[in-house]
């Protein structure tokens, strides 16, 4: 432990910061995409129209039973094939994360929608609103308010999951740390540094969730 070399971190800080930015950017876009697609899947599943709900249920259960790494491999293989030309690792990874996380978000959102009492829906219908108006003005706003803590928690998990783009060598924080570790021969320092950075971000995030849960709107 005595010859712990901090300078390796200092010297490579700009490179590491670039990696962290990619991780955060990927997390942010995947959260947005995952929530949008997840809401669609949840509405399909609760629609009462059998083909739609069956499709959504199959999709969600399929995605939830395979590892994320396999999903990343799938989309790295499928996306360029489907589009007909390579579009770069970042977009393939982003699509994989959105498709994967949407399945998890849709389960959270479905529970959130079901937490809004039926009386609210009936009241909306009684005042002459159609299906979309009831969802848009009554159900979803309340559902999302109830779900905020869980959505943030899932966001933290998603941030940790982005480290898996390492398997396709996309230069996120994890991959960059590992590149520095190898080229400088400083494995111990770099992996412990990576662990500390992830820990600080995720721990701060979970403290934030705890405050949300205690907050006045909870």
């Amino acid at each position: 432990m005595g010859d712990f070399d901090y300078s390796v971190i200092w010297d490579n800080l700009p490179f590491l910061w670039q990696g962290l930015q990619l991780s955060l950017w990927l997390t942010f876009l995947a959260i947005i995409g995952g929530i949008v697609l997840g809401t669609g899947l949840a509405l399909m599943r609760l629609s009462g129209f059998l083909p739609l709900s069956l499709f959504a249920a199959t999709y969600v259960n399929l995605i939830r039973s395979v590892p994320l790494i396999l999903v990343i491999f799938w989309f790295y293989f499928l996306v360029p094939l489907a589009i007909g030309r390579p579009i770069g690792g970042f977009y393939s990874a982003l699509i994989a994360f959105v498709m994967f996380e949407a399945a998890y978000y849709s389960e959270i959102i479905r529970a959130g929608i079901q937490s809004v009492r039926q009386g609210q829906v009936h009241a909306g219908q009684a005042t002459g609103m159609n299906y979309w108006q009831v969802q848009r003005y009554i159900v979803l706003p309340q559902a999302f308010r109830n779900m905020i803590p869980i959505l943030v928690t899932q966001g933290i998990i998603l941030f940790q999951d982005t480290s898996l783009v390492f398997v396709v060598s996309l230069r996120d924080f994890m991959t960059v740390s590992s590149i520095v570790a190898r080229t400088e021969g400083r494995l111990v320092e770099m992996y412990i540094f990576a662990a500390i950075v992830y820990f600080i971000i995720c721990f701060a995030g979970s403290m934030f969730v705890r405050r949300l849960q205690k907050g006045p709107t909870a």
Partner: protein
């Protein structure tokens, strides 16, 4: 889309063997790690609910530490950093003489990581039993150990069967991370077949189907288990 289908590649000579060996490694990692996760997770989960402040603090630290660092980082620390930090002869043994280093490391990393998740389930199960029963037990003169042995654990273990089975499934999925340190489990083998044969569609489909079958089996076993362990009156909780 321009793609040459060739499903027979999955039955061709080396590739079928690769898949089978991949499934075996996936099971070997997941099951061994589950033993660690289950045993340690129960201890830590119970520890977090104990009245003793130092014990519950240590257990809380464990959970927060292992939950807030990505599993991939943990895997790398166990594989690359720990042998360097260890005393010299232990480190040398880990690097040179330890049998199956990838397997042992993957099991340890996955087991200790999943233990933190199991601990959270155990803790929430114990807390779901409610303070009324705990107070009643103490009022009857039961010691802390007896309260856990006769009241809290028997009820909470039955309450947490559903979330525990989902943790059990998660450990199979997370075992795929072992490929990052060079263990050729199912996902790695399918990727390798895709690279060797250019039949990515077939290779990934095979792996996907196998994972889905594992999930279906686990869900079936879980439902049977839930039927036997369900507590009337606690239905829907846990």
């Amino acid at each position: 889309m321009n793609y040459n289908w060739n499903w027979s590649v999955l039955w061709a000579d080396p590739y079928l063997g690769w898949l089978i060996s991949g499934v075996q490694w996936t099971f070997a990692v997941a099951l061994a790690a589950w033993v660690i996760a289950f045993a340690l997770g129960i201890l830590i989960g119970v520890g977090r609910t104990l009245p003793s402040k130092p014990i519950s603090f240590i257990c809380t630290c464990y959970v927060e530490l292992f939950r807030n660092v990505p599993l991939l980082v943990q895997m790398f620390i166990w594989y690359f950093a720990v042998p360097e930090i260890m005393p010299e002869d232990v480190g040398r043994w880990m690097k040179r003489d330890m049998p199956n280093p990838e397997y042992v490391t993957a099991v340890v990393a996955l087991g200790l990581y999943t233990a933190s998740r199991v601990a959270e389930q155990v803790r929430s199960g114990i807390q779901a039993v409610g303070s009324g029963l705990t107070s009643a037990a103490y009022a009857n003169g039961l010691s802390t150990a007896q309260t856990y042995r006769y009241v809290l654990l028997p009820i909470s273990f039955r309450l947490i069967v559903p979330p525990m089975t989902s943790e059990f499934l998660t450990i199979f999925k997370n075992s795929s991370l072992a490929l990052t340190i060079g263990l050729l489990e199912l996902t790695a083998q399918s990727q390798q077949i895709a690279e060797f044969t250019f039949q990515g569609f077939e290779a990934f489909t095979a792996a996907t189907v196998i994972y889905v079958v594992i999930a279906l089996f686990a869900t079936m076993i879980a439902q049977t288990l839930e039927r036997f362990t369900k507590i009337p009156g606690f239905v829907g909780k846990g």
